[in-house]
Symmetry: C2
């Protein structure tokens, strides 16, 4: 455990006074001071015990024979960047591997919401992530997931989170608040579980994360605000950001792999002139590919600057503002005495060219590459690696749907995927019946979808139809990443391939697999809760690219095709979804049959 | 106890949604939004359970048959003002009376540091103030005093504060942090008590108040900063404010009865362009006269605006900035849902004309007058009213000083009062000897000073000489307000009058009294710990005016003559002071004899 301030305060004082020597001194830096909003040239920065001890014009008196001295030579000293809200699981990699991937990008603090693993493993899953978070070379705080299952009554996840769970978790050292309260209708209607988890968080003096995924800024919004959410990253329009800040919430602007919500909302600052102190940058979800090829928080800060935010202000939005929001202002978020010595040496400020990254005084990356060894997290408990329980081998017949007797065609509800959007359409299509069974119809771009129960080994399979993937070949893709309940979603044109794909994931403990004509084309193994690989980010990124290629070869031309697949069970976003209870109409929050004329 | 947010959240949601009715609705206000920095016209504000439930364009749906509706008619709705650091004892009145006095001035939150009573009564004294604070109609949080005694080794106060005391106090509901750590040399030299009280505060997650009363911004300053102080109100120059903010501290700018530190330091914002978010306004010390005749936080905000700060920014410095500093951002500091409904209706913003004051949704003042009944706090425990223990009746002979044998004059160290400054000079004067006893010398403006032990009834009296009061008449003034150890200081020209004055305070339990030619001229009774009156602020102000008049009539022309008197034992500010151990050279931190040639 990293020593708290009070355990090392006397050493900091000794160094500042010249009675003791620093471990590290950075000289002649341009100090990006997020408190004053200034950039102060010719600054020396002394570090001891992983914390800043002195920041000022001359640290000569702190330099001893064993002090490492780094000449910044006029480069900018920028506080380590913070990601205010994100899901490690979206990277398909472990906490440790995520840290490895983002350190070269200057991220030294993360606020992770392990909502996905909580849906699979419940509180023990959160604890698993928490304990891995606690031993990282960078700062990883954990938000306790608030809404498990996401759509109570419409799905059964692998676990449930109660107010009692939240109360317990608030005592864990890395827990920093409550994860996004996404059941916003529940808050506005005084759902006791929602108000209960918020109450436990407030009692513990922690920060309540929000998630208001609606364009309605009227009464429903005001009702949600009154319930106590303190931030929100679901806004997309400038007026969304304005409304949240006016109500005393922090507007979290996200730039993730598939989220592009900074450009519009930052206009609240750059055009409307709102005080920027209540704006915070985050990623929410980043795939391993984005981390490997594009960046992480550096990408977000760079983007905000490119949209017209003054560099120091954009950096505040990823450092001090975040730290204050989580009441960690004395620990992180600035280069000032007492704080953890998380610091970037930057050679160009507007484009944020990061030469070196220091975390707690240790040089962890340089020139875009990791500079330290970060061993894998060691063995995970068997329970976390054995979460795909099918109960029995599945066969082709599990993925067929019998038509009502005597029909040669049926009118079916079909989930309609919409390019580049999370919401689906609720379509109706007339489908052919062959030998008493309803089949998909390539001419209408309708194929099969199945939700396979995988938490309790019930052997349950729910079948329906989906449109938009464009599969022409005989193929199937299965994934145990199936937001938010994370059963298994299988989409395919051929029941035999669907059974092969499902069984393959059962065999390896989860992940994503693509079969074509009975042959495995691509596989990303994710044995940790069926959500995360235990391989390196580069390996996962490469395997994912192979998967995307296999989907494309089979006829799928969607952007983010893998994500579209994994969101088909997300019963909190309209319009039609599939869960272990069947098809769900997410506009009326009720189950509906596949066949309209059933 | 005022209900916490989580106990009433469902009611707030109900009101915001229109399912329940508000207690109070303010309509058509200009919303001074300290989060966004905007002023938003035509805003409705709904309050229930003492908290804001809805702030937006139309609160019609929250108005029921029993809702009180106030038409703001375009007036500004300003968050209730916060005093970030202050001593109730300086008002010479009780916590309750202080609240009565400041409510009409728009102060709805105070952060009080009961340092003075802690020097008299220790932890039980702090608890007394704490418990009275807890039941006020406005918000009074308490900072746990950190430095009792102020000058360990050079004085013995009525009590001591240890790290264990701090640990215990951090569990009390109104304790919000540690009071000003004024032993700044102790911090920089790693004094274990200083680092201990800071460590206990940090462990409790609370805010550490600072007090760096030096112009040296070099190594001594950096050493103090490294020790963990989070704010400072002792700066006087613009560069002091800049230095503190750059180091990650809050610059608290004070305007008290005798402190005028805003005008110079605010230039850091108005001229140098520093981010104003880390600037906070406070009063530190206000006499009852200031409260009655001039104002409180309204006076400070008005002054900041007059010095060129944008009104919304100046208001942030007395609302949101303060709330965030103490991690109370969800409780106070803005007019937004969930926060305590502390609100001012203001008819002119730059001059801050406060028409009405609401605290927790109750109209507590209007037109500069209190609008509610605030009963006195009831009986105080006997121990708190019986703190002046002289041990025996004092006589004139207790206030004389024998010369070394055979001398007809002596060279003596004399405390030199400096007009309008807290530091004294260490003078040397040749004084006459009459009948073997050293006397004062009106021709040199040297009179007698005595420190009378009053905590333990030892009967101890320390005698010396002071210059600067200008007393020509035969007179004496005694006060049990004698920072920081709060023994009794008696200054006079005639030992008989000195004995009369001292005995009078012993008889009534403390206060200030002035005798001339054996006759009492003025008296301010302060039976509560010998520091506070239990009368109304107006009464105390009038009695204090009478006291000042008596001093003036006897020849004293000093500004703030009463304060100069009460600071003569303050052994943490240079240069020469008197304590129960004798004369103290505060530059070398050691005791020195009265006679140079002993």
């Amino acid at each position: 455990m990293f020593a708290p301030f009070e355990a090392v305060a006397s050493r900091l004082v000794d160094v500042a006074m010249g009675r003791g020597f620093a471990d590290l001194v950075v000289r002649r830096a341009r100090w990006v001071n997020v408190h004053s909003g200034e950039i102060i040239p010719d600054t020396d920065i002394a570090v001891v015990a992983g914390r800043f001890a002195y920041c000022g014009p001359d640290a000569s008196h702190t330099i001893g024979p064993d002090t490492e001295v780094v000449d910044a030579a006029g480069r900018y000293a920028v506080p380590g960047l913070c990601d205010a809200h994100m899901h490690v699981e979206s990277g398909m990699i472990t906490v440790t591997e995520f840290c490895r991937a983002v350190m070269p990008h200057g991220t030294t603090s993360m606020f992770i919401d392990p909502h996905e693993i909580a849906n699979v493993l419940g509180l023990p899953g959160v604890r698993l992530m928490h304990d891995e978070a606690a031993v990282q070379p960078v700062n990883v705080w954990v938000q306790m997931p608030s809404c498990v299952p996401s759509a109570p009554g419409l799905e059964e996840a692998g676990a449930r989170v109660t107010p009692d769970d939240v109360r317990e978790a608030m005592n864990w050292p890395q827990i920093i608040g409550l994860g996004e309260v996404m059941n916003f209708p529940g808050v506005a209607s005084n759902d006791p579980t929602m108000l209960g988890v918020i109450a436990e968080t407030r009692r513990a003096g922690r920060t309540v994360g929000g998630h208001y995924a609606s364009r309605d800024l009227g009464r429903a919004f005001h009702g949600y605000v009154a319930g106590g959410a303190e931030d929100d990253h679901e806004g997309t329009r400038a007026e969304d950001a304005v409304a949240r800040v006016r109500q005393g919430m922090k507007a979290m602007l996200r730039l993730g792999s598939a989220w592009y919500d900074v450009a519009e909302q930052i206009r609240a600052v750059t055009e409307f002139g709102l005080d920027p102190r209540n704006f915070i940058l985050c990623t929410d979800d980043c795939h391993s590919g984005t981390l490997v090829h594009e960046g992480h928080m550096d990408r977000v800060v760079r983007h905000a600057i490119a949209r017209g935010v003054k560099p120091v202000t954009a950096i505040q939005m990823a450092t001090l503002n975040t730290a204050e929001h989580f009441k960690l202002e004395r620990e992180i978020g600035s280069i000032t005495p007492g704080r953890r010595a998380d610091l970037l040496l930057v050679s160009d400020l507007p484009t944020l060219v990061i030469d070196e990254v220091y975390a707690r005084g240790v040089r962890v990356a340089a020139g875009g590459r990791l500079a330290i060894e970060v061993p894998a997290h060691g063995a995970y408990p068997a329970a976390a690696l054995d979460t795909v329980r099918l109960g029995r081998p599945l066969v082709a017949g599990d993925f067929t749907l019998r038509a009502p007797d005597g029909r040669n065609q049926v009118e079916a509800r079909v989930i309609g995927v919409v390019e580049n959007q999370a919401p689906t359409r609720s379509l109706r299509r007339t489908l052919p019946v062959v030998d008493g069974e309803v089949s998909g119809d390539p001419a209408q771009d309708v194929c099969r979808i199945a939700l396979v129960e995988r938490h309790r080994g019930t052997g349950g399979v729910v079948n329906a139809f989906v449109s938009g993937f464009g599969y022409g070949a005989s193929c199937a893709m299965a994934s145990t990443v199936a937001h938010d309940s994370h059963h298994m979603i299988v989409v395919g044109t051929e029941p035999g391939d669907m059974a092969l794909a499902a069984n393959r994931l059962g065999e390896i403990g989860g992940g994503v697999v693509f079969f074509r004509n009975g042959v495995e084309q691509a596989l990303v193994e994710m044995p940790l809760a069926g959500l995360m690989s235990i391989e390196r980010a580069e390996v996962v990124a490469a395997k994912t690219e192979q998967l995307i290629a296999a989907m494309r070869d089979a006829g799928c031309t969607l952007n983010n095709a893998y994500m579209q697949h994994s969101l088909l069970a997300l019963a909190v976003i309209p319009a039609l979804r599939i869960t272990d209870r069947g098809l769900v109409d997410v506009e009326r929050f009720e189950s509906v049959p596949v066949f309209v004329d059933g």
